[in-house]
Symmetry: C2
Subunit: 336 residues, 2 copies
C-alpha cells in the first residue's frame, strides 16, 4: 500500500464486445483532496462485474458509458480516511461507486451505504451483501415471483448473482435447477449452493438433461446468459412462467443485435412474461434486501464463494476472465 | 337457408403455416339432434380469426389442434332453434364455439354467452363485443397497464383487436400510434379509429416515421404481428415499457422457429416487459369487458368496422385472405 500516489485503472480504448486487458491502462495520479461535503475513501476491495461490459459500451445502455481516459466505473469497499461530510467519520467502512483506484474523493451520491455488519467480512459488501445480492433478491422475488413448489431455473448458477438466486428460491420452497459450465461449477451448485439439480450447458445433450431435471417444466427462469442456453430453457416454460432477464453473459456483442429464435410464440402460447431487472431501480429498498440477506448469511441459509485477485494490476484482464468463465464465485480485487 | 342439411367446413389437410382454401372442404351433413342438456343453434354469423392459424397447427399451442376431418373450430353467433337445457329457450341469441357450420348441437361448455344487447347488431358479438373486444380490453388494461399521457403503439391497428385497443387507449388518455399496411388502412386508423398517428409499415422509411410519430418513445406496444414491425418498435421502447404479445400475423410459420434480433438487451436496458395474452384466461371476467365495451359502443366512443363475406362457401379461403391483408375490419361470414 502506497499512500502518496493513487493508482488508477483507466479506460484507454472503447471495446466492441468484451473488454480485454488492452482496453485499460494502469496509471499513477495524485491522491485527490475531498471538497466540502465529500469524503476521501481508501479502497480495500474492488468489484469485477459482468455488467461492466455494458458500462464501457458505446451502445445504448442504462447509464452513460465510461468516458475514454476516465477511471473505470466500479463498486468498491473501503475506509473513510478523511471526511468533510458531517454524516461520515474517519475509520468508517463504506461501499459505493468509487472506481478502480486506490483513493476516491466522493460525495454522498456515490456512497451506497456504510458497512456496519462488523461480524461479516467487508468483501461480502461487494457480493452477497451488495449489488449482486440485491439483484438476486429483487429480481427473483419482485419480478420472478416464485411460489412454493414451483421450479426455478438459474443460468450462471454458480456466479455471484445466480448462486444467491438459487438459494433464495430454495428458501422460498422452490425446486431449483442450476445451469453452469463444467463439472467443477455444477458440483459447486449442488454441494455449496444446494441446487436440486445442476446441468452443464457444455454437454452435447444439455437440453435433454435440462428437461429431465425440470420434470414438469419451468415456472421461473432467472436468465444471466441469453443465447442458446436461454433458447433451450424457453422451450420448456410452463403456462404463466416468468423470465427474469438479468444478464446476457453468452452474447459476445450486442452491436449489431445478434439473431436468435423469436420468442413471441413461446410468450403467447404459455402466457409467459419476460422482464428486465436493473438493481439501481431498487435503491430505495436496498435496506430491506440487506437485512434479509445478512440474516440468511449469518444463519448459514445462504452460502457464498469469492474469487479474490490480489493487486490492482489484476484489474485490466479481470472482466475478460469472467467471460472466459475462469472465476469460481464472486470476483473481487483486494488492493490493500 | 336450407333447413334439411347442415353445411359444414371441415379441415381436410393440415397446413404448415397459413391455412389456405385447399386445406378445407365444404360438405353436407345431417342436422344434429341435441341430447339432454344441449341446445341446437342455427348459426347466423361465423367468425374468421388470425388465431385460427394456430388452431389448425400441429405445433404446440394453447389448445388441441382441430382434428383432420373435423368441423373447423370457430366462434359463431346464432339463434337457439331447439333447447334441451332449462336455461335456454328457443329464439334466444347466443355466441360460442359453434364451428364453421349451419347448425351446432352444443352444451353449455361451448356457449360463451347469450346475446341480449338487442339495440346493437348481432354481428358485434363476434367482434368488438366478443373475443376480439375482450382481448383488446384485458390485453391492454391488464397487461399493458397504460397510464394517461403515455404513448401506446398498436400493430394491425385497423384490425378487429387493434382498432379496439387503440380506442380504449385513447379513452385512457394515451397518445395512440397505429401501424397498418397501406394508405387505406392508415386513413381508417386516423379517421374512424382516431389514432393520433398512423404509420404504413410498407413504407421504406417506416421506422423513421414511427420514431417521429412516437416522439419521446413507446410506453406500451400492443403487438399483433411480431416480425420486422415489432423489431422496429422494440428499438424505441421507453424505460419501463410493456409489450403485450397478442398475435404474430407477420410470421408465416413457427415451425421451425424463425430467427430475429434477440430481445434481451432491450428488455434489460429498458427494464421492459413482454407478456403474452390469451383471452380465454379471462373467461370469468368477460362480463366486465362486455359491459364496458357495449357502453362505449353505444356512446360512439368506440367505433368498429366489419368485413362481411356472404355465404359459407367463402369460409375456406377466408383465413388466408386475412393474412393477405385484404379485409378492412372484423371479418365475418353471414350464412343465413
Amino acid at each position: 500500500m502506497r499512500n502518496d500516489v493513487n493508482r488508477q485503472v483507466r479506460l484507454k480504448a472503447r471495446p466492441t464486445g468484451i473488454p480485454q486487458a488492452e482496453h485499460f491502462e494502469l496509471v499513477e495520479a495524485a491522491v485527490p483532496e475531498p471538497t466540502e461535503g465529500q469524503v476521501l475513501v481508501r479502497n480495500l476491495y474492488l468489484s469485477v462485474e459482468p455488467a461492466m461490459r455494458g458500462w464501457v459500451s458505446a451502445v445504448a445502455n442504462y447509464s452513460e458509458p465510461v468516458p475514454l481516459g476516465a477511471v473505470m466505473r466500479s463498486v468498491a469497499a473501503g475506509r473513510v480516511v478523511q471526511s468533510r461530510h458531517p454524516d461520515y467519520r474517519e475509520g468508517e467502512l463504506v461501499a459505493g461507486m468509487f472506481g478502480w483506484q486506490d483513493f476516491a474523493a466522493v460525495g454522498t451520491e456515490a456512497i451506497q451505504r456504510k458497512v456496519t455488519e462488523s461480524d461479516l467480512p467487508l468483501s461480502a459488501a461487494l457480493g452477497v451483501l451488495g449489488l449482486n445480492g440485491f439483484t438476486a433478491y429483487f429480481g427473483l422475488l419482485d419480478i420472478g415471483q416464485p411460489k412454493a413448489g414451483e421450479t426455478v431455473v438459474v443460468s450462471t448458477a454458480a456466479g455471484a448473482v445466480g448462486s444467491c438466486v438459487g438459494q433464495i428460491a430454495r428458501l422460498e420452497g422452490c425446486r431449483t435447477i442450476g445451469i453452469a459450465g463444467g463439472a467443477t461449477k455444477t458440483a459447486l451448485c449442488r454441494e455449496l449452493f444446494r441446487y436440486d439439480g445442476a446441468i452443464d450447458y457444455r454437454l452435447p445433450d444439455f437440453e435433454a438433461h435440462l428437461a429431465e431435471a425440470c420434470g414438469s417444466g419451468v415456472d421461473v427462469y432467472f436468465d444471466n446468459t441469453a443465447g442458446p442456453i436461454s433458447d433451450a430453457v424457453l422451450r420448456h416454460l410452463n403456462v404463466g412462467a416468468r423470465v427474469v432477464v438479468c444478464g446476457t453473459a453468452s452474447i459476445a456483442s450486442w452491436d449489431p443485435l445478434p439473431q436468435g429464435p423469436r420468442v413471441e410464440r413461446h410468450l403467447l402460447v404459455k402466457r409467459a412474461r419476460m422482464q428486465g431487472i436493473l438493481v439501481f431501480d431498487y435503491a430505495q429498498r436496498y435496506g430491506e434486501a440487506l437485512a434479509a440477506l445478512a440474516q440468511w448469511v449469518r444463519e448459514g441459509a445462504i452460502c457464498y464463494r469469492e474469487d479474490i485477485l490480489e493487486g490492482i494490476e489484476q484489474a485490466p484482464d479481470a472482466i475478460a476472465g469472467l467471460y472466459r468463465g475462469e472465476n469460481l464465485g464472486k470476483r473481487l480485487i483486494r488492493i490493500a
